[in-house]
Symmetry: C2
Subunit: 335 residues, 2 copies
DNA sequence: CCCCCGAAAGTTACCGGTAACACCGGAAGA
DNA sequence: TCTTCCGGTGTTACCGGTAACTTTCGGGGG
């Protein structure tokens, strides 16, 4: 007599119904070729007659395998991550892994908490946004002996697999595009200012200084970025530096918001003010004019992560490495 | 000697280190007040010395509780769901539940697959987008005897908890706003055309017919919506019905894309063409002019779901009900 | 006729926790 | 002094599967 009347159908119920032992039912599900065809059919029909749903916890506990992988992303509302995630899910899904998604809210403390949570779920790998983690998180990761992917930006000292692009270089390249178009008074507008945003800004500053120009025209805020914020911050910048010729925005949302504000002010883009964003989201191709942006290879990042992670999961040894997938500058019509 | 050298630290290791049995360590973690203070401290220090990470599968199996809830959303890239999800996560997170997110890609077949997956993970509740499910999904849900939330739209026959708004009514109300402004030749532009999009369109049609007008000016596509698509479809509509006075777009993305296309064509919004979207995303307040839209109470939906679901999880009986959280029409400057 | 082999199914033990109940010693009450 | 009670800890069994090994049985080769 069961202690708790769970009411749930277990392997044993199926086995009783068919007149075999539960291990045979278990085999029929996981390794059908080891079970005779006739029996397999009877088992299958018993399974959907009784409505058996496997107990993942029991399976994971017994086998030591969870068939799942954790994917942490900074924010669910940021379209940047959805393509990366799609590539990962397709690649890993085909190999039988379930992808568990968590979001860190751009906080490495929250990341640490999630790493802990997902390790207790027994995930077989972790995919992390960024290359900076708390000390405790690093200790957890090392001790867990689980493949780890760090993505989005690059690092000299990857924990394991690192796939991304050089954010600093990309920031520099876009700034250079402004310079190539003859602009000199080029500002930077940034929000949230997470580590990657800082790298992009540093790239802007490096290019500006290298050209012997002043990097003073810079406005940032720790607030989350949004279209509205882009407009508001553009207004502040124009008030403070009326001589601005171009503004490099830390991401596409800000750039679009800035563009809308220019439209309200009847400020011609790019003639009176050039604008650029970062990421190459859909919106940059739709606005009037289309926005200049740094197109990041997000889908490719996702695919690459899936491929390299599968190799590790299938036994490839730990061999820390970085893969730089580059970027592309798109001039659009705003530069 | 262990069969597999998992290398992982278990409760038993902690217990051995401290010199107690594992049940005491288990108690110290789950019901600290039942363990003496001195012992608790020794246990805690052993835990972080050895780096113990609980095994969620084992706990879930033994206790029959997973402390987790599945949240299915149609798409990760649609900003509409992120606020709903935030409300849910805050509410349920505080109560100790982990929210597992899955996305259906707007397919009820994929939804069915995910329901199966998450039931096998032992989730204690399911939150589903929409009120339409496959027959098999309904059978799974009924048999699982687990609280279910259906959200976004309303239904007369909820499975359990239903929280949302009347999409048909909302479509009708926005169309009425066009009529109130004196527009007569009002079109509808829709993409993806999932069930909710169809309801909104039906609302548009109802209002149009009720006003004795023609509902012919309607263009839809099964493709996923995007800014770019909004522009392209606007162009098609203008070509086909040059007399259009206003267009109600099935969501904000399409409306924004349509607005950008108007800007390219130097078509004044709203004087030459009125536009409206649906959802009240951030972008509608940022464009020039701001877009008219139906503001949906997404955060409130999330909070309400969390509240009502917690009540059920804490023992409130199954009592199917619908809660209509309404909507608000915002005129913006495009209508 | 015996042996060996392999396919098909069964036995046993175990994964790492938790529920339920048993136990123990000391303080409070009778 | 004897119960009673209770805080603090231990014992035992079990959750629902899977790994590893064993058993059974029929057929082919020697």
């Amino acid at each position: 007599m069961p202690r708790r009347s769970s009411g749930r159908v277990t392997l044993q119920h199926i086995a009783d119904r068919v007149g075999v032992t539960k291990i045979t039912v278990s085999r029929a599900l996981r390794e059908p070729h080891l079970v005779s065809a006739a029996l397999r059919l009877r088992i299958e029909s018993a399974i959907d007659e009784l409505g058996y749903i496997p107990n993942h916890s029991a399976g994971a506990l017994a086998s030591g395998r969870s068939h799942s992988v954790a994917l942490l992303i900074p924010s669910l509302s940021n379209a940047v991550f959805s393509e990366i995630q799609r590539g990962i899910e397709e690649g890993l899904g085909q190999a039988g892994y379930q992808v568990l998604i968590g979001h860190t809210g751009y906080s490495i403390l929250e990341e640490e908490r999630l790493i802990d949570t997902y390790l207790s779920y027994g995930v077989e790998a972790l995919i992390l946004p960024g290359t900076r983690h708390t000390d405790h998180a690093c200790r957890l990761l090392t001790r867990a002996r689980v493949p780890v992917v760090e993505t989005l930006e690059l690092t000299e000292t990857p924990l394991d697999i690192n796939v991304g692009l050089d954010q600093h270089e990309a920031g520099k390249a876009m700034t250079q595009a402004f310079l190539d178009r003859g602009h000199r008074k080029i500002g930077f507008l940034g929000a949230r200012m997470d580590y990657r945003a800082q790298l992009r800004m540093a790239g802007w500053e490096a290019a500006i200084r290298q050209a012997g120009l002043s990097a003073e025209r810079c406005l940032t805020t720790p607030h989350p970025s949004s279209y509205r914020l882009g407009g508001e911050m553009l207004a502040s910048m124009l008030e403070r530096w009326p001589d601005l010729e171009g503004i490099f925005c830390g991401n596409d949302d800000l750039a679009a918001g800035a563009l809308f504000e220019c439209q309200r002010r009847r400020l011609n883009v790019p003639d009176q003010l050039a604008l650029a964003g970062f990421n190459g989201l859909d919106i940059t191709e739709a606005t009037a004019p289309p926005l200049a942006t740094v197109v990041t290879p997000r889908r490719c990042i996702g695919d690459t992560i899936a491929r390299r992670l599968l190799a590790r999961l299938q036994g490839a040894p730990l061999q820390p490495s970085s893969e730089n997938l580059g970027f592309r500058i798109r001039r659009g019509g705003s530069l």
